[in-house]
């Protein structure tokens, strides 16, 4: 049977009512769990797995595909509307999506995001269909040397995301690389900077770093400065306008989708790397970039088309080599294996029909998912018009909940709080969170790829053609970065960049430098292969930080100096300092430590609503009970448990409070 017939047969079976209904059900379930940050589709997918043993496994597989396809779609809601990265692949969307929401253009941002998602997803599927016959040799052409070059290329994107001061941006990236080197060293398995704890032996989680760098500072910032997320009380022209803008920027969609599909197809690159590279590419390639990072619709379109195109790309290693790119994909592959389909070599020869059913189910689910999201975009956007003091306690609870899903331990909550403090001060003193994220995401990959390339090839990997081509791309990317002039505010003698009251920012600089210096000290204990990466990075970072110090000490305004607290005079200054709201965040942690998470959330939300939003006690308690209800429902259906407090240690509590 020729290929086209397989594709048509797959399409036909796709639209059989049975298949379609289960697919749609999967999409619906995926949306419900996808909207909540941190959960992703994994919990739900693993619950479906036992049903594969049932009489008819095909609808279950259709459901699984439906669930997977909307993983990267529904998480755009919290990213754009609240600045909370629902998963690590929606972090870059926040950079422009959330500022748009703050301008009252949430619906427009969502419209653009979902239409870009849909087009990106479809692009990925088309590429997958066309390329699947040739994908194998292409993937086999990418060896350790090429992987190293790709990672280096991704790292050069930091040049576009340093913020106002290139020096500080590079220092932040170095610090991100250092944070990422915590945990087992790729070359030896030695634990680096883990303080002999089990928790840090896996390294710090990207999800927690993302929440701490984006969500926590936003919550604190908005609580201090605003009444609602949106600065206007209108939602603007909305969803359709966003849709139209995506179509107008079709070239960008096409380029970012290609990036997404290509990187997604390479094992070990997908997910978070994809979106940051796409965002970096947007900054590199567009003209008039003054608005980027402040609410430019192209900053939403780029990463969103890439992260859904990634879905299609990721199917290539999954189906053709049996290598899953995420835990959702791993569960899906598990499901395939259980029904006797062996993904991997020869999948195309043995199951070409099924392969196309999967691919086109992905496309259909993608369209269904984005269409639903588009319909919901405007009503859900209304949340940006609600007084923020009413939304904030729920958001804080959601952030902690998302962090807890990482390893389901108390340390997750503590790690979030500690890194959250870092995030808030980085924002205050103008250290770029995206730069830190890029360093963090690439750290382990870079460390491993350098060592592996040298171990396998010696220096001869530089002679490979693929490596040389990418080396040329890296040079181009660096030239673009050097010539890149970020849009920055004009320097004024008494503004945030003024050389006065420097103590707070110098203390912060000192803390960062002390961490880097400590890592130099700790590396001495390690063997050469475990030490060489963090030690070199720490030394370079220290040199950059020293340069920051020198420039900071000069007696004139400069972009290296920045203190967000100096944007106001005494009269305009918000009533509360960031510390005040960090105190509140600590409050939830303490309440959870005493009463357990569920009761702690209840107490926290009630008190917060009463004190900060002036809600009467009964109504505050009612709202808090709503949160408890949602937490209980999730605990029941998704088999989740919540952090225990002292109370649970002392007395046996009934479900869901245990």
């Amino acid at each position: 049977m020729p290929m086209s017939e397989f594709i048509l047969a797959a399409l036909a079976s796709l639209f059989s009512l049975h298949h379609f209904l289960f697919l749609a059900l999967g999409v619906l379930l995926g949306m419900v769990v996808g909207i909540l940050p941190g959960l992703g589709g994994t919990a739900m997918l693993s619950l479906l797995l036992p049903f594969v043993f049932g009489k008819d496994p095909t609808p279950v597989l259709a459901m699984m595909v439906g669930l997977m396809a909307v993983n990267n779609t529904a998480d755009t809601f919290p990213a754009v509307l609240m600045g909370i990265p629902g998963s690590s692949s929606s972090q870059a969307t926040i950079l422009d999506g959330f500022p748009l929401a703050k301008r009252g253009e949430a619906a427009r941002a969502l419209g653009a995001a979902f239409s870009a998602s849909m087009l990106g997803g479809l692009f990925g599927v088309v590429v997958l269909t066309l390329a699947i016959q040739f994908a194998r040799p292409l993937i086999l052409g990418v060896g350790f040397g090429e992987q190293l070059m790709l990672i280096a290329l991704a790292l050069t994107m930091v040049g576009m995301l340093t913020g106002a001061s290139a020096l500080k941006g590079l220092g932040t990236c170095g610090f991100g690389l250092l944070l990422g080197s915590v945990g087992a060293a790729p070359a030896t398995g030695e634990y680096r900077f883990a303080f002999d704890t089990v928790y840090l032996s896996d390294g710090i989680s990207l999800v927690i770093v993302g929440l701490a760098m984006f969500a926590v500072p936003e919550v604190v910032d908005i609580l201090r400065k605003r009444v609602t997320i949106s600065s206007t009380q209108k939602l603007g022209s909305g969803t359709l306008r966003g849709f139209a803008e995506t179509l107008r920027h079709w070239g960008l969609v096409l380029r970012c989708s290609s990036i997404g599909t290509m990187l997604g197809a390479l094992p070990g690159m997908g997910g978070p790397v994809v979106t940051w590279v796409a965002y970096g590419h947007v900054v590199q390639s567009v003209k008039d970039r003054d608005q980027l990072g402040k609410g430019d619709i192209r900053g939403v379109i780029g990463p969103e088309s890439a992260n859904n195109a990634d879905n299609g790309g990721a199917m290539i290693p999954a189906l053709m080599f049996g290598i899953p790119s995420s835990s959702s994909m791993a569960i899906f592959l598990g499901g395939l294996i259980l029904i006797g389909v062996e993904p991997g070599i020869g999948m195309l020869e043995r199951h070409l029909d099924l392969t196309f059913v999967i691919i086109w189910s992905l496309a259909l689910a993608n369209v269904l998912g984005t269409a639903t999201c588009l319909l919901l975009a405007k009503p859900i956007s209304r949340i940006t018009l609600v007084p923020f003091a009413m939304v904030a306690p729920f958001m804080i609870a959601i952030i902690y909940f998302a962090a807890y899903q990482v390893t389901r331990s108390w340390y997750d909550l503590v790690a979030l709080f500690v890194l959250g403090v870092l995030g808030v001060y980085m924002r205050r003193f103008g250290w770029s969170p995206p730069a830190l994220l890029i360093g963090f995401v690439l750290s382990r990959r870079l460390d491993a790829a350098v060592y592996q390339s040298v171990q396998v090839y010696g220096a001869s990997f530089l002679e490979r053609t693929g490596v040389q081509v990418m080396l040329a791309l890296i040079v181009v990317s660096i030239i673009l970065a050097v010539r890149f002039k970020p849009s920055r505010a004009t320097l004024t003698p008494d503004g945030p960049n003024a050389p006065v009251h420097r103590v707070p920012q110098l203390v912060f600089l000192g803390v960062i430098a002390a961490c880097a210096a400590y890592m130099v000290y700790e590396s001495v204990e390690l063997t050469f292969l475990a030490r060489v990466f963090p030690l070199s990075v720490a030394l370079v970072t220290l040199a950059l930080l020293a340069a920051v110090l020198v420039v900071s000490m000069r007696n004139r305004p400069s972009h290296v100096l920045y203190d967000g607290e100096r944007e106001w005079n005494e009269v305009e200054r918000p009533a509360h300092s960031p510390l005040h709201y960090q105190g509140w965040m600590l409050g939830l942690l303490v309440a959870a430590a005493v009463f357990g998470f569920v009761l702690g959330v209840f107490a926290f939300i009630s008190v917060f609503l009463r004190v900060k939003a002036n809600v009467a006690w009964p109504r505050a308690a009612l709202a808090a009970s709503g949160a408890v209800l949602v937490l209980s429902a999730m605990s029941h259906f998704l088999v989740l448990d919540y952090p225990e407090g002292i109370l649970q240690r002392l007395v046996a509590m009934p479900w869901p409070f245990n």
Partner: protein, 365 residues
């Protein structure tokens, strides 16, 4: 009846129970009733991994065969090489049959090599079932070795092997390579899937896979002439001898490979160390454990459930893949394997310490 006869009759009962097998166990199990209960299977790994799939494949059958048809919930506590999950099980699980832990070879290995971080005493837990999983070593055809007969040709050839960590699951093959006297360059920090990819690209030329991984993917490489299976590690039989892997009757075991290479039987601390790795990595690949001190009738109910599951043709047909036809060790028959895998003699310790230090520059604490 004095205590002596009580003891004797107890032992006698044990023997009869063992001989009579299921009926006696069933009689004890009848008193246990889990109806309306929620049973928690704690999987100390991420969803979608081998242990997770194993648990979720077995769960519906436990629901079917445990008395009272309880609901089984699989709960993942991922990370930390399964140490946090095992420790959580230790602090929370009561010996009431409502909590079981799913362990894998990495749980066992971390228990041995990072004992101080473990709160759970793995050797005291009550095994419900122990599921072995074999491993097959294969090489690139370019090395000129067609089968075990010309294994000697490997000597002196530059071999490159990729794996995750020098102290992890790969030790069952790295120790084997060392015993064979192979000249292997190691590249760490690569997961299993990407390792196979790098093997296909020709960057690595010696590799291994567990039985499912081999049957699924590497066997296709063999068919395409891109890989040559060399030997399967083998399994340990009732007498403690290493025999051929039942899934690969045509492939020699590691012991045969050793003989082909050196012309003599392997022995001494090096061989004992490899056998310990075989027990951890192959024999104790997956296990379901009840907390220590679980009352006998409850343990019996679990044993009965797994026995009935293994005999269920529906299981065989639908989920049999998760055990790949290996002999399953039920209840106490699993204990000696777990005990041997977790207690290493001082000589074996010395050998392993020296091996990791000299070959991989890793110092064991």
């Amino acid at each position: 009846m004095n205590s002596n006869t009580l003891l004797r009759s107890g032992a006698c009962f044990g023997v009869i129970a063992a001989l009579a097998g299921m009926p006696a166990i069933e009689a004890a199990a009848q008193k246990v009733d889990f109806s309306g209960k929620r049973i928690e299977m704690l999987v100390p790994f991420t969803p979608g991994g081998g242990s997770d799939i194993y648990s979720r494949a077995l769960a519906p059958f436990f629901e079917k065969y445990l008395p009272g048809n309880p609901t089984i919930l699989v709960r993942n506590v991922p990370g930390g090489g399964s140490i946090p999950g095992a420790n959580q099980f230790n602090s929370r699980a009561k010996p009431d049959g409502l909590h079981v832990l799913v362990s894998s070879s990495s749980t066992v290995m971390n228990f041995v090599f990072q004992r101080s971080k473990f709160e759970l005493d793995l050797s005291k837990a009550m095994p419900v079932v122990l599921s072995p999983q074999g491993s097959v070593v294969y090489i690139a055809p370019g090395l000129g070795v067609k089968s075990i007969k010309d294994i000697a040709k490997l000597k002196g050839q530059a071999l490159t092997f990729g794996g995750n960590t020098p102290t992890g699951a790969e030790m069952r093959v790295t120790t084997a390579f060392d015993l064979l006297g192979l000249d292997v360059k190691y590249v760490w920090g690569v997961e299993r899937g990407p390792v196979r990819l790098a093997f296909e690209r020709g960057e690595f030329n010696i590799n291994y896979d567990t039985t499912p991984g081999f049957l699924k993917n590497a066997s296709q490489l063999v068919k395409a002439g891109k890989a040559v299976p060399l030997f399967a590690l083998g399994v340990i039989d009732e007498t403690g001898k290493v025999v051929r892997d039942p899934n690969f009757k045509n492939l020699p075991s590691f012991v045969e490979a050793y003989e082909a290479m050196h012309g003599k039987q392997p022995s001494g601390p090096a061989f004992e160390a490899w056998k310990a790795m075989l027990k951890m990595g192959v024999m104790a690949n997956k296990a379901i454990l009840l907390p220590a001190g679980t009352p006998e009738p409850i343990a019996a109910a679990w044993r009965t459930a797994i026995q009935k599951t293994l005999q269920d043709p529906e299981f065989d047909q639908k989920a049999g893949k998760v055990i790949e036809g290996y002999p399953q060790f039920i209840g106490e028959s699993a204990r000696p394997i777990l005990r041997d895998a977790t207690t290493l003699s001082p000589e074996v310790w010395d050998w392993l310490r020296d091996f990791l230090k000299t070959k991989h520059n890793v110092t064991l604490k």
